[in-house]
């Protein structure tokens, strides 16, 4: 649980979010803007705004990171859990060469200058940056968006983490670049035997990269389960609406029946089920009673009172 003071009224932005990222798998965290997906992901490595209060547990290999010492969390960051941020232009220090930034964690780890450089070159090559010898001394603004995101990935890989958190890694990129970066991430996860927590609002990305997905709405988990099953046969009306709203390229589809209203604001969540004002299936019960996340089918969890009645 994350409590964020916002203006005068503190809000429980992240409310009872529970999920697991399994070793060797890619877990997708889906949600619209303000659904709390990024914050949930960042709470793992303690990168929350200073004024945030937290409760609950973040278990990293049987160790609770929420209560761990700051020193220990810093050890985890970068070396055990790597992070890839959304907008690589903003997430890279504009006044340092990319080589310096990629190698920073290595340099602080005590490697010699030559060793660091060799390793950085290797990493850059690994993430598919052509001419790493030239690019290593270049500044972020001198690269294209795709190349910058590759640098971010190389930076996250530098500490040889076992888990990578990728926050909207392709949102800021062009379509063709998106595809390449997603492929790279998938490859790397596979080859480096890492786990990955992929945060995105793009269901199409999830459908192709994630093994498991967690759907969030207004700071709560709406549904989770294996990716393909969740997206093809949603057990939550919100997931269903999302899936229906994704237009297809392969066929000319009519514009889906849109959901009414705007996504709920976690700072000012409706009572009961946060989704009820927009939900076509809403009943009186939904207005008062918060639905608990429950196992509706084996391995499939949904937080809807009427999960069983959701039609695909």
């Amino acid at each position: 649980m994350v409590v964020l003071p916002s203006g005068a009224t503190p809000g429980t932005v992240i409310d009872k979010v529970s999920f697991a990222v399994d070793a060797g798998r890619t877990t997708g965290l889906i949600g619209e803007s303000g659904s709390g997906k990024t914050m949930s992901a960042m709470s793992i490595v303690g990168l929350l705004p200073a004024e945030a209060e937290t409760a609950g547990r973040v278990t990293w290999r049987s160790e609770d990171l929420l209560t761990a010492a700051a020193r220990r969390i810093r050890q985890v960051r970068g070396r055990e859990i790597g992070v890839i941020f959304q907008d690589p232009l903003a997430a890279l220090n504009p006044i340092q060469t990319i080589g310096r930034q990629v190698g920073e964690i290595l340099r602080r780890g005590g490697m010699s200058r030559q060793q660091v450089r060799a390793r950085v070159l290797e990493l850059l090559e690994r993430v598919g940056i052509p001419d790493p010898h030239q690019r290593i001394d270049v500044y972020p603004h001198e690269m294209s968006g795709g190349m910058r995101q590759r640098v971010m990935i190389a930076m996250a890989l530098a500490g040889e983490p076992q888990l990578i958190i990728a926050d909207e890694p392709t949102t800021a990129l062009d379509v063709t670049t998106q595809a390449r970066i997603l492929r790279l991430l998938a490859d790397l996860r596979e080859q480096e035997h890492m786990a990955m927590l992929l945060v995105s609002h793009d269901l199409r990305v999830m459908a192709h990269v994630a093994d498991d997905v967690v759907v969030m709405y207004a700071g709560r988990v709406a549904e989770r389960g294996p990716a393909r099953e969740v997206l093809e046969h949603p057990l939550h009306p919100y997931t269903r609406a999302l899936a229906n709203n994704v237009p297809a390229v392969s066929t000319k589809s009519a514009i889906a029946e849109p959901l009414q209203g705007a996504p709920a604001n976690p700072f000012d969540r409706p009572t009961g089920c946060a989704f009820h004002p927009r939900c076509p299936m809403a009943q009186d019960r939904c207005r008062t009673e918060v639905p608990l996340l429950r196992e509706v089918e084996p391995g499939r969890f949904s937080a809807c009172h009427f999960s069983e009645k959701v039609e695909p």
Partner: protein
């Protein structure tokens, strides 16, 4: 042809780049390099391309915000100059919906003031009678409650803001609506609302729409014809059906192959889930 609302001929736009040295001439960035486009009455023409392809610059030329280096843009046979040189009725005829609903509305003005400003500038289209009622009607047209009139943009959701933005454009009774990535910044669940609204308004208001986007799936949903741009040039311009079923240009093919569906059919995405996991 009289059915063409807008004709763009050999449009060229260049921006001066930095000067690298004392002797070197200024570098020039050719943003649009000779584009011809027509928009017919009541059709939706999608202009597609990746960032930097020059599609937004074309739109800004149409709107008169950018002065082209060469080429002509005519609206129903009348040449269009820079925005402040256009006669009032041409100023009205072409309106725009921006990408970011947060920044296209002046945050210090109320919804009512935003729409009334349009009428103030163009008394010709201002309602004759009760303005309050007229305002409520314009808002109702875009699916907004009259209650939002007194609010400022910051008190509205993204979808509502985009509706206000559309209402502001409609208040001037335009013939051509330029939508520059009008739904890209919206949440998925809101995107469909706006798309549907645009399609409905096009029908009820006899609008032509120039729809600029990078999202091919959206294009497929709403476009009649599609023009694909790459580095300032038009690579392909054809009907939507033709483009999606039989793309002629390799670049278009590449774009389509990079796009992917939820189900993973049609695909350009080379990986299936099995391969990855």
């Amino acid at each position: 042809m009289s059915s063409h609302v807008l004709e763009i001929r050999d449009l060229r736009v260049a921006f001066p780049g930095p000067r690298r040295s004392l002797r070197a001439a200024r570098t020039i960035v050719q943003a649009v390099a000779g584009v011809d486009l027509d928009i017919r009455a009541r059709e939706t023409l999608a202009l597609v391309g990746e960032s930097g392809s020059g599609k937004s610059t074309v739109a800004r030329c149409v709107l008169g915000l950018v002065r082209p280096q060469e080429g002509t843009i005519t609206y129903e046979g009348r040449a269009l100059g820079p925005i402040d040189k256009r006669p009032a009725e041409l100023q009205r005829a072409i309106q725009m919906v921006f990408q970011d609903p947060g920044s296209s509305l002046n945050p210090r003005m109320t919804v009512s003031a935003i729409i009334r400003e349009a009428w103030k500038v163009h008394p010709a289209v201002a309602p004759k009678g009760d303005r309050r009622k007229a305002l409520a009607e314009v808002l109702a047209d875009v699916g907004l409650d009259a209650g939002v009139a007194g609010r400022r943009p910051s008190a509205l959701s993204g979808g509502q803001r985009q509706r206000v933005s559309i209402a502001r454009a409609l208040a001037l009774r335009p013939r051509l609506l330029v939508c520059d990535e009008a739904v890209s910044a919206l949440d998925v669940s809101v995107q469909s609302q706006i798309l549907r609204l645009l399609v409905d308004l096009q029908r009820t208001h006899d609008l032509s729409i120039l729809f600029i986007t990078h999202d091919l799936a959206v294009v497929r949903q709403i476009a009649d014809r599609v023009a694909v741009m790459k580095t300032g040039e038009l690579v392909e311009c054809t009907t939507a059906e033709q483009l999606f079923t039989a793309p002629a240009h390799p670049y278009t093919q590449g774009l389509l192959s990079a796009a992917h569906d939820l189900e993973g059919t049609n695909v350009g995405f080379e990986y299936t889930r099995e391969q990855i996991s």
